[in-house]
C-alpha cells in the first residue's frame, strides 16, 4: 500500500502525531522518528524532526531530560509537559471535528 501523502499534511498533522507518540512513551529524536515511521507516518526526516522538537520545546509543550546511560555525549529524551498534554487534548478534539466534517464532505461526493 502506498502510504505517502503530500508534505502539506505533515506540516499540519505532525504536532498531533508527535505529541501523541511522546505522551505514550518518552523518546529521543531518532526513536520518535522510528516509531512514527513504524506507525505508517511517512516522510519525516531528521531535517524536519529536530527543529520541530525545538519549536515544541520553546512553546512549552515538550521538555527534555538528559540520558547519559550510553557511551559518548548525553542524549535528549523528550516528553510531553502538562501544558503539552492539555494542548494535545484540544488538538485531538479539533482533529476529530475536522475528520468528521471532511468525512461528510468527501462521502457526499458523487451523491449529487
Amino acid at each position: 500500500m502506498d502510504n505517502r501523502w503530500s508534505s502539506d499534511w505533515n506540516r499540519v498533522t505532525l504536532p498531533l502525531a508527535a505529541l501523541h507518540a511522546l505522551e505514550k512513551e518518552s523518546s529521543h529524536g531518532y526513536r520518535l522518528l522510528e516509531r512514527l515511521t513504524a506507525s505508517g507516518y511517512p516522510g519525516i526526516t531528521g531535517s524536519t524532526l529536530y527543529p520541530f522538537l525545538a519549536r515544541l520545546e520553546s512553546q512549552g509543550w515538550v521538555q527534555h531530560e538528559w540520558d547519559h546511560s550510553t557511551n559518548g555525549p548525553g542524549r535528549k529524551i523528550f516528553s510531553v509537559t502538562r501544558s503539552g498534554s492539555d494542548h494535545l487534548t484540544a488538538l485531538t478534539a479539533e482533529w476529530l471535528r475536522v475528520q468528521a466534517t471532511l468525512n461528510d464532505i468527501v462521502s457526499s461526493r458523487g451523491n449529487g
Binding site: 531518532y30 522518528l33 531528521g46 524536519t48 529536530y50 527543529p51 520541530f52 559518548g72 555525549p73 542524549r75
Partner: protein, 134 residues
C-alpha cells in the same frame, strides 16, 4: 563532516541559540546520522537551511561581540589619531601618521575575520567522532 557541524553551529549562533542547545543539537544530529547510516547532508539537507528552521533565541554570539568590540576599538583609535593630528598640526593621510588609518582598517578586518572564525568553532565538549552505542 566537521565542516557541516561548523556550519550548523555558526547558523544557530547567528539565530541567538544558546551554546548548550547548540551542543545538544550537534550531538543529536551526530547520533542520528550514525544510527541511520546516512551522511549528514543527506539526512538533514543544507546545513544553513536546517539551522534556520530552529526557533530564534536571545543569546549574543561571541564572534559578533568580538567584531563589534574591534570595530569600536578601530573607531576610538581613529578618532584619537585625528585629535592627535589636529593638536600637532600634522596630516594623517601622509607619512608615518598614515599608519593609524591602515591600523584602523586592519583592526576592522581582524575583527571581522576573527568574529567569523569564533562563530564557526565547534562547541566545547563536542566530540563528533566518539564511538558510542545508540
Amino acid at each position: 563532516m566537521k565542516k557541516y557541524y561548523r556550519q550548523v553551529a555558526a547558523s544557530l549562533r547567528q539565530r541567538g541559540v544558546a551554546e548548550g542547545e547548540i551542543l545538544a543539537t550537534l550531538n543529536d544530529i551526530e547520533a542520528h546520522s550514525r544510527h541511520s547510516g546516512k551522511p549528514l547532508e543527506e539526512e538533514f539537507g543544507d546545513a544553513t537551511a536546517f539551522a534556520e528552521q530552529f526557533p530564534r533565541g536571545s543569546a549574543k554570539p561571541a564572534g559578533r561581540r568580538f567584531t563589534v568590540i574591534m570595530t569600536v576599538l578601530a573607531a576610538v583609535f581613529l578618532v584619537g589619531s585625528f585629535v592627535a593630528a589636529k593638536l600637532f598640526g600634522t596630516d594623517l593621510r601622509v607619512g608615518a601618521l598614515s599608519i593609524p588609518l591602515f591600523g584602523a582598517v586592519a583592526i576592522i578586518v581582524i575583527g571581522t575575520i576573527g568574529g567569523f572564525m569564533i562563530d564557526r568553532r565547534l562547541p566545547k565538549n563536542f566530540e563528533g567522532s566518539l564511538p558510542r552505542e545508540y
